[in-house]
Structure formats: C-alpha cells, structure tokens
Symmetry: C2
Subunit: 420 residues, 2 copies
Amino acid sequence: MIERAATEEDVRAVARRARDAAAELAPLPRRAKDAALHAMADALDAATDAVLAANAEDVARGRDTGLNAGLIDRLSLDADRVAAMAQGLRDVAGLADPVGEVLRGYTQPNGLEIRQVRVPFGVIAMIYEARPNVTVDAAGLALKSGNAALLRGSASAYSSNVALVEVLSTAAAEAGLPADSVQLVPGTDRGSVLHLLRARGLVDLVIPRGGAGLINHVVENATVPVIETGVGNVHVYVDAGADLEMAERIVVNSKTSRVSVCNSAETLLVHRAVAAEFLPRITSALQTCGVVVHGDEHFASLAGVQPATDDDWEREYLSLDMAARVVDDIDEAIAHIRRWSSGHTEAIVTRDLDSARHFVARVDSAAVMVNASTRFTDGAEFGFGAEIGISTQKMHARGPMGLAELTSTKWVVTGEGHVR
Amino acid sequence: MIERAATEEDVRAVARRARDAAAELAPLPRRAKDAALHAMADALDAATDAVLAANAEDVARGRDTGLNAGLIDRLSLDADRVAAMAQGLRDVAGLADPVGEVLRGYTQPNGLEIRQVRVPFGVIAMIYEARPNVTVDAAGLALKSGNAALLRGSASAYSSNVALVEVLSTAAAEAGLPADSVQLVPGTDRGSVLHLLRARGLVDLVIPRGGAGLINHVVENATVPVIETGVGNVHVYVDAGADLEMAERIVVNSKTSRVSVCNSAETLLVHRAVAAEFLPRITSALQTCGVVVHGDEHFASLAGVQPATDDDWEREYLSLDMAARVVDDIDEAIAHIRRWSSGHTEAIVTRDLDSARHFVARVDSAAVMVNASTRFTDGAEFGFGAEIGISTQKMHARGPMGLAELTSTKWVVTGEGHVR
C-alpha cells in the first residue's frame, strides 16, 4: 500500500480541471466521443506491457503487505484482462448516446415550446475498491455520456490506475478531447476522499462502489450528490402453492450461481403451507451445493442446519450461507423483507396472480422478481449494454445504472418574446 | 418564537410512524387518495376559525419578538388564504396520479418481461420557512404521489402548522388513510432538524425550501437524500443583432414582474455590438421601474448607475437591483454565466439560430430560455398543475418539480422460472 496524502487544494484543483473539461465535453456529438473511445481502446492494447508492469508493482506490494489471495486475484491483470478492458471501451462506443434525447416536449397554450432534454451531469467521481478494470469501465461510460471522470481507486491498485489513466487521457487528448476528461484523484489517503466528497459546486455526482463500509463512509461525509450502490440483503419467498421444482431451481440459482455478488440471495422465506414438503427438499439441494443453512425452528430440526439469529436476517453473507425461515402468510414474508432488506432485489415464486400482484405492490426494493432468479438484477441482463453499478437508493436512479442514469436533464424553453 | 427541543428518539419515532404509513399509502389507487384530498379540503374549510385563531397566536408572538413586516405578512392567514389552501388540495386531486406509470417496458430475448414502474418515494420531509400554506401544499402533493409527509415549518408558524396538520391528519384518517400520512416533525430547535437530516433508512427524501442559509445547512448536514431548491442568480444575455424592443420587454419583465422570487433576473449581459444603442435604452427603462442598475464601466457612464463589483455578479438580489455588463461576444457571456450562475435559469435574446443553439448547448442551468422571460421557469407555466419547488441540482430532478418528481421507480421482472 502506498500512502500519498493530498491537500484539499490538490483535490479541488483536479476537480476544477475536470469541470472545465466537462464544459467542453457536453456539446460534443456522438461521433467525436466514439472516436475517442476507439482511440483509447487501441492505446490500451498498445500499452499492454506498460500496464502489466505497473500492475506487477501493485501485486508485489500487495503480497508484501499481506493482502489475501482473493484480493490479489481481483487486483491482478494479464494480457487477456487488458484486452477485455479495451474491448469494453469499443462496446461502449457501440451504444446509443443518451445525450440529446428529448424526454418531454410540448407547446403551452401561450405558444411557448418546452423541451426536457438529456444532458451530461458534468463531473462524475467514482470511488471504488481493488479491481483496476473499473478504472477503464467508468472512464468509458462517463465519457460516452459526456461527463468528465474523476477516479479514485484503492491504494492497492495505485500503480495500475496511474498507468491506465495515463494511457486513457493521452489517447483522449490525441483524439481531440480534453486530456482532463479522465483524471485520477490525487492522494491515496482517507483525507483525499473527504476533500472529494466535499467539493460542492465542482463535483456533480459521486458513485461509491464497494462494501458497506465504503458506502457508509461516503454517505455520512458527502455534501456532493451521491448514489448509493450495491449492498444486497436479497430475499426469495416461496408462496403457498408454488411450483416447488421451479422454487428449488430459483432458490439454488439465486444463492449459488455466484455468491460474491450483490444480487445473490441471502435469505429464504417459505410459506408454511408448503413447508413440510419444501423444507427437506430445498435444504438438501442447498447443502448439496455446499450451502450452510441458518434456519428458524422449522428448519433447525433438519440435519446440518444452524440455528438462525437476528444477525443472520441482517447479514449480506456473500458466501455459501443462507438464512431461512417459515412464514405464516405472504404478509409476514413482506413484513420480514421490510424489516431486514437492503432494498436491492426480492423474488416471489408463486402460481397465484393475487400473490404476485400483492408482493410486487408492497415490496419496496429496486427490483422485484416474479418467478425468476434474483441474479437477473444486472445491467447486461436488463439489456443496458453496460453498467456502472446497481443503485439501492430511490433518488435519481434505482437498480442497474447504464448510460442514461449518468445523465441529468435541462429544460429548453423557446418563445417569440414571451413575457409574464 | 417558541423553542421546543426534540430528542433524536422523538424525531425518529415520528419518522418510523411515517414509514409505516408510507407502506400503506404506496399500493393505494388514485380514487382513495383523491377522496382523502377532498376530505382534507372540506375539513380545512370547516376548521377555518380554529386555524385563524392559531395563526393569530403566531402573528402576535411574531410582533412581540420583532419579526419584520414582510415576514408578518407572509405568516398571516385570513379566510381567503385558508379557502385558497383548501382549493389547492382539490386542484391536486384533479391531477393525474404519477404512481403506476410504466416508464420503460420490454421483453428480453430469453423471455423475461422487464418493466420500470413509477412508485412513491416513501417518506418525504419538507423543511421550509414562514408561509403556512406550504404545510398544506406539501401535504397534498406528497399524499397524491403516495408518500407520507414529514413537515418541518418555521418556529414562527408553529401554532398555525400544529392546527393545520391536526385538521389534515384527522381528515385523512376519517377518509380511511393512515393518520400518520401527514405529520409535523417535533421540536422547533435546530437540533430537531439535524435529527431529521440524519434519519437514514427512515426518510427517503428531504426538500428544503427557503433562503441560501437554510439550503446550505441542509446540504452540509444531511445523510438522507436531498434535493436543493430555489437559489436563483439568473442572467439575461442580449445578443448581437437582437430585436431590442423584444430584449427590453424580456429584461424588464424578467427583473421587475416579481422581484422576490427565484426565477427573477439578477444580471444583464449585453453584446458590445448593440451596447451603444441598448445601454441607454434599457437603463432608462429599468430606472423607470425603480430598478437600481449596478453596471460595469460601460454602464457606469450613464446617469444613476452604480459601479458593480464581484459582489454584484454573485448576489441574488431579490430586490429592485440589477447587475449589468457588456461582453465582447457570446462566449464571454457564457463564461460569465458559468462563473457566477447558481444554475437556475438563463435567457438569451437573439435573432440568430447559431447563437441560440450555441447558448442552449453550453449553458448548464436547469432552464435555458430563448426569447422568453426567465419568469417562465415555474411549475404552473410548464403545465405541471402543481409545484413543490424548483430544483437547482442535477440529480433526480432539475427545474420545476411536480408530482412525477416526488416519485421513484421500481423494476418488476416476470419470468417462468428463469435462472442464470
């Protein structure tokens, strides 16, 4: 880990340059932005060796400072991973430009023409943990949507991020865009993050991506607008009369297809009408996949089930563990979800139309699945082509965020000398 | 002024009740909400005497504590003002319900049906200054959009607000809605506002309405999501070749039609190509309306013009004062606006299509007017039917906020046992 302190003025100077770059980016047509994205991709391919050399420094430092194997893996790049990052930029170039879309447009009785038009935010800051690929993804998505990017990766990836941003900003400049379109936030200490979070008037949006500790730190300290992302205490409810074969498939997929991600399920709720048949079946299926079930008194009589406490209802395991309980009816399931959910994704498995409608209307989460795995809450699965994160707040963006969520709007009003 | 302290637990208890009420409000159909709005309007009419008696207490206390005449006027109710508040509730009942609108809907190649549906935020808190009518307006708009309202008016209107909320919540309960749909935040001290601003997980949105001091206090201290409203350092730019008769009409209307509101103009920028003709003309027209012009060296040679300083470029006068300068070209006007604007509204007066397009694309404000008065940035003028405030931030809502801006969205995904 390298500790580099940055003063408030260091951070604000970089943010001011980003703001100037954003003013140049905002009116650019799609063609200019796509050309820059392709230039950045080509430059990244050409700089593979330099990027890998910088990454090797991070990995060596990580090993020296005792970073665990999982984090070392997330941090490590190879030629394929660099090529994938470059391809990601080309894929973003292929997406439609959200800027300029007219969301509402009409003429008032007095003849005033009113248009609500999508415009870039301006300066978007990302604060994120280990993976260096986020540096490239975030830069590409910000630029495509006409925004300047301020990137603050983890200290453990510092050398990689410096190398990547150098490649991207040089290529952007050679393609005719401001070099400051993509910048690293100076410093690797907590203080530099605080300065960024308090740069009101210079930073239009901060998106933290990482664990609950990072998200909370950002929300507690920011005076600039924030979108909270990615904490997922996700539930699957199996209704009375559900197709139990389908229920098993959805529960197992929701829990086990990738345990470390925010849309994987953490808690199973089962209607008591199907408990006698479903509990042994799902417990066995989960255990076969290596899942430890933390169950209420109904589950606890089954072999291998650990007794659940409130801590189990509250935790986002991100591991092969699942909390499980029986509920008396759908409203008890909804009440449990209201009490413990982080508002990311919940699913119902049911054959009953009333139950589906009741659950959808009353569960207040970013995504509600009916007879589908919770793992579908994802930008690619939603057809967005790209994703910058999954918002768990209700303001501005909720659920997977693509290019449109990186834009604001502007009202354009045209008259012929109209006065009030 | 009454000082009533409230503990964190006092405030959180009220917020928890609001959250429970919000869960009941969310699935309600329009019919139930409209019936409650009419019941609240009728109850307000019936309670006019009690409301006026409570208001008289506030007015008397305001006089005793030396509140100035303007604030006393804003605070004072009479039978007509109470009747207007009741009518406002009936008008809101007549508006379309934003909840349930499908914003995006499509079927993925794998057959998953994906819908993005408008849903209420949940709990919306309003923090506002003197006028008691905001209590009724905010309650009505929050309820119509399916939200529970937490209202924190000024201490000087405390008795009025207590009486109004008592009437509204009783009527809501009699109409079958939760009584806690509309609540006053306990306490009149600054501490109670702080507890509200930090009730993460209980309050989904805070909207401050008032002067820059209030807005800054909220933004600096909130950990719950905030929408900044209403600070307007508004500019009118008169382009080379503009129709000067139209320019005069728009400048005078933008400045003088109502000086105390956020969409009134504060600074005039004039292209030097029309300065010789336009400066004497507009200065005289403004002075005839009682406006003091604070001008740069070009204006300063005219009789009665005060010399402008940076303070004049920065201030939102909200009075019969206007800052004024000559610019070399449209880009200097845009640069001035970027430097000093609060991002509310700016106008260009021009005959030139390139100038109009250039200005619209590069001015980064909530509303950009072409050949129209800045005074049109207003919910009613935009045809929204109601307005809760004017957002000057870029996240979630920008410009006038109506019912749609008081909603979030939810993704509803329907499959037939889909797994990844």
